[in-house]
């Protein structure tokens, strides 16, 4: 019954989306404004129905209902409840249901909470959201039904990929999806604005909080995913330039650019066409990423549902939505007035530089990701790996960081280059000092990119605090703090990346219990190795005493065996200290009762994710700050009218 109810809720939601689309456009174009009254309720009902469908799927997983095909193929009654729960979206059908649920709920949120947008644009936006949702409902219902039954029901399920049996799975995909799919709101806003030709500062102010919210969640999702890959895959790396990682990075790059250009549009009414274009591109990148991952045309460690039929379906959706949006853009944007001009030395120019650099990185990542596909079309096979991305995107990202330091110190409208230079004097001095001390102490030992990374991270870190210089800190608005913290987060993250690649010490040994290993100031005493049984796995677990001068700590790297499906994973032991992480992986047994141990000391590596969290926190503060200011202004205006009356 539960599965059938879920499916019915989905069909109903799809029907409502169709209704919402027809009502919005008939109301706007057909001269029947009374139809518009039903658009918002339709959007809200759709959000509720998708949430119900999703909750029902989760219920099926929690109850291990083995008459449902998806539960059979992705779950097992012996699994801990957290993984039953997370298993609901650890597969193709479930994650697509999560996708339409996020889309439906985002649409409902726009219907309920958006007050600043002009009414006709609001209705056109909701119509746009319904149009995109409709395609994904069709995809779900016709080719990826999560509620399909299996008859006869098997006695038990096949289990979940053990790599995914990690608490991270409960958190990382939903957050990422909220951001990824949340960008559909920006896309629909752009459609709405193009349809009603309302591309102006008021529109940008209405769109900004939605972009910010999606971007904050996307940032958190990427940060969490990076940390998950770091500790779960046991390679000691935190970013692999895998097509799926790139698929989440590309929307983030576009959304970051959008976040800055929408500010220019909101503050100075400039960059109109460009902002609309970015809003279209950001969610397009989400869709392209999904296509690349789900169609199996690129090989990836994440590819869990390789199916050309589904691939063609998503390709058709891509062509329809992105192609349609770009055609609408071409058709309508000519009639949108050019925005306000600005001087060469101004905050606007700095933000244009930011946008250009972000767009170039986006383009390079896109080309790198698709390059194997392009050459294959001409009969050659290549794969593009981390060296390409590091070497190509790295220097541009560093240039972007420098622009990020200068941007907030440049005034809107018009500034003087000499004054901007003066404000950057202290950061420049710090850059010089760091460069000289690094050359003295670490010359020849670290590469050029980590070297520049450290220099830029430290100077930009200081520069990002400069907007607070000589200001009344209590009267500084929350969104300015948000910007400062987000920019500081970029510097912190960069410092972590540079430290990791410059100073990591790696040691691979074959040790038997009783041996002592010395590396990077740490002493590891390998005490014993013993079997251990978990919920649905057994493991070999090493007991290792580690110490650095003072008292010792016991850590337990494991090699885990899962029975269904039969797989081995390595659970790295991580010991976090203020200045870095010790990362120990237990490998295979080699002859003579010795075991491979891989030990890394990674100075300041945790800064990478701390920076990511700071960036997201800064975004959240900016969001709350802007919204609060909006409420306060409205409240004061109401007070003023009351007093006048």
């Amino acid at each position: 019954m539960i599965a059938e109810t879920g499916l019915a809720a989905l069909w109903l939601a799809a029907a409502l989306a169709l209704l919402q689309l027809i009502l919005a456009f008939a109301g706007l174009k057909g001269g029947k404004p009374e139809l518009l009254a039903a658009v918002r309720p339709a959007a809200v009902a759709q959000g509720v129905l998708t949430a119900i469908a999703f909750a029902l799927l989760v219920t099926l997983f929690l109850r291990s209902d083995m008459s449902v095909l998806l539960v059979v193929t992705n779950s097992h009654s012996m699994k801990p409840w957290l993984y039953k729960f997370a298993g609901a979206w650890g597969n193709h059908e479930g994650s697509m249901l999560l996708w339409v649920t996020v889309m439906g709920m985002a649409g409902a949120a726009v219907a309920l909470f958006e007050r600043a947008l002009r009414r006709d644009t609001h209705m056109a936006t909701l119509g746009g959201q319904a149009a995109i949702s409709l395609g994904f409902y069709a995809f779900l219902l016709f080719s990826s039904n999560p509620f399909a039954r299996i008859d006869p029901a098997p006695a038990d399920g096949q289990g979940l990929n053990p790599l995914l049996q990690d608490p991270g799975l409960a958190f990382h995909p939903p957050t990422l999806y909220l951001g990824y799919v949340g960008l559909s709101v920006a896309f629909s806003f752009a459609i709405g604005a193009l349809l009603t030709r309302q591309v102006d500062a008021a529109f940008a102010r209405a769109m900004r909080p939605w972009v910010l919210a999606a971007w904050v969640l996307l940032t958190l999702g990427i940060t969490a995913g990076s940390y998950w890959a770091y500790y779960e895959l046991g390679w000691g790396g935190w970013w692999f330039w895998d097509p799926v990682e790139n698929a989440s990075l590309m929307p983030w790059l576009a959304a970051t650019a959008l976040l800055h250009s929408v500010t220019v549009l909101a503050t100075r009414d400039a960059l109109r066409a460009w902002t609309i274009m970015l809003a279209v591109v950001a969610f397009s990148m989400s869709m392209v990423g999904t296509f690349l991952v789900r169609s199996g045309i690129l090989t990836s460690v994440h590819a869990f549902a390789v199916d050309p039929t589904r691939g063609s379906f998503i390709l058709a959706l891509l062509a329809l939505y992105i192609g349609g949006a770009l055609a609408l853009f071409g058709w309508r944007i000519g009639s949108v007035r050019e925005g306000a001009p600005f001087e060469l030395v101004s905050r606007e120019t700095m933000l244009v530089v930011n946008n250009l650099l972000l767009t170039v990185i986006l383009g390079l990542v896109l080309i790198g990701t698709l390059y194997p596909l392009m050459t294959e079309a001409f009969g050659h096979k290549v794969s593009v790996g981390a060296p390409y991305f590091d070497r190509i995107a790295g220097p541009i990202a560093l240039a972007l960081m420098v622009a990020m330091a200068a941007g907030p110190l440049t005034r809107w409208r018009k500034d003087r280059a000499r004054l901007v230079g003066k404000r950057l004097l202290i950061p420049a001095a710090i850059a010089l000092i760091v460069a000289i001390s690094l050359s003295v102490f670490a010359l020849g030992r670290i590469g050029i990119l980590p070297f520049l990374g450290l220099v830029i991270a430290l100077s930009v870190g200081v520069a990002s605090l400069a907007p607070l210089w000589k200001r009344n800190l209590r009267r500084t608005p929350l969104f300015t703090y948000g910007m400062v913290i987000a920019h500081l987060g970029c510097a912190v993250s960069l410092a972590g990346m540079a430290c990791d690649s410059a100073f990591t010490v790696e040691k691979l040994v074959a040790a038997r219990p009783g041996d002592t290993i010395q590396t990077a100031g740490w002493t590891l005493h390998f005490r014993k190795i013993a079997p251990l049984a978990g919920d649905n796995w057994t493991a070999l677990q090493a007991d290792i005493d580690v110490s650095r001068g003072g008292g010792s700590v016991l850590i337990h790297p494991q090699s885990r065996f899962f029975a269904s499906p039969p797989t081995t994973t390595s659970e790295a032991a991580l010991l976090t200290r203020w200045n870095g992480q010790l990362y120990v992986v237990l490998g295979e047994e080699v002859e003579g009762g010795r075991w491979q141990l891989r030990v890394w000391w990674k100075p300041f590596v945790t800064l990478i994710w701390l920076g990511g969290v700071m960036i997201a926190l800064g975004g959240a503060m900016a969001l709350v700050g802007r919204e609060r200011r909006g409420w306060l202004m409205k409240w004061r205006a109401r007070k003023a009218t009351e007093v006048a009356a």
């Binding site: 296509f291 045309i297 050309p308 691939g311 390709l315 891509l318 992105i322 853009f329 071409g330």
Partner: protein, 175 residues
């Protein structure tokens, strides 16, 4: 100019769609193609691996006639499964030389006694040095060497019965 810029994204996107479609509908080809095809055979000179066959050097593979070079090992199960196909190739007129990888003469002799001996010469590559130089990742593999000592084809894995005509065709084409 502005008009051009406005429509540029759509044009680019249509290009991507064409690319995606071609990637999606192209037959899936996951075979690894050797980069050594067309390259001259790396120079080597190996001691004899079997008591009744002469040793093998790379110069002996450039005799004007195309030959097969088969890497195998006595400890390799697919190599034993491949033996009848090599026999068939030899009967069809193919000249076959072998390289035994990480092996010992007594084991090779026993292997050939069990599975037949289609080889004209067999070299012993005790430390996989030649195997690595050939860019080969496992046993068995079979290379077609044209008369001038260049690699014309690399067959990864064992030769199945269906592959025999294809190998003979390629051997003829390498003339």
């Amino acid at each position: 100019m502005r008009k051009l810029l406005i429509w540029l994204p759509l044009v680019l996107f249509l290009g991507f769609i064409a690319l995606f479609a071609s990637g999606l509908f192209q037959p899936d080809d996951r075979i690894i193609h050797s980069r050594l095809v067309g390259q001259p055979l790396p120079a080597f000179s190996l001691p004899a691996a079997a008591s009744d066959r002469p040793p093998l050097a790379s110069a002996q593979l450039a005799t004007g006639q195309p030959r097969l070079l088969n890497t195998f090992a006595s400890w390799c199960v697919p190599c034993a499964a491949e033996a009848p196909q090599l026999e068939a190739l030899q009967k069809a007129g193919a000249q076959i030389d072998g390289i035994a990888i990480r092996d010992a003469r007594a084991d090779v002799d026993a292997f050939l006694k069990r599975n037949g001996n289609p080889y004209a010469r067999i070299g012993l590559d005790a430390r996989s040095a030649v195997q690595i130089a050939l860019g080969s990742s496992g046993v068995p593999e079979t290379f077609i060497i044209d008369g001038k000592g260049r690699i014309a084809y690399q067959h990864i894995g064992d030769i199945r019965a269906d592959d025999v005509p294809m190998i003979l065709d390629r051997l003829r084409a390498a003339q």
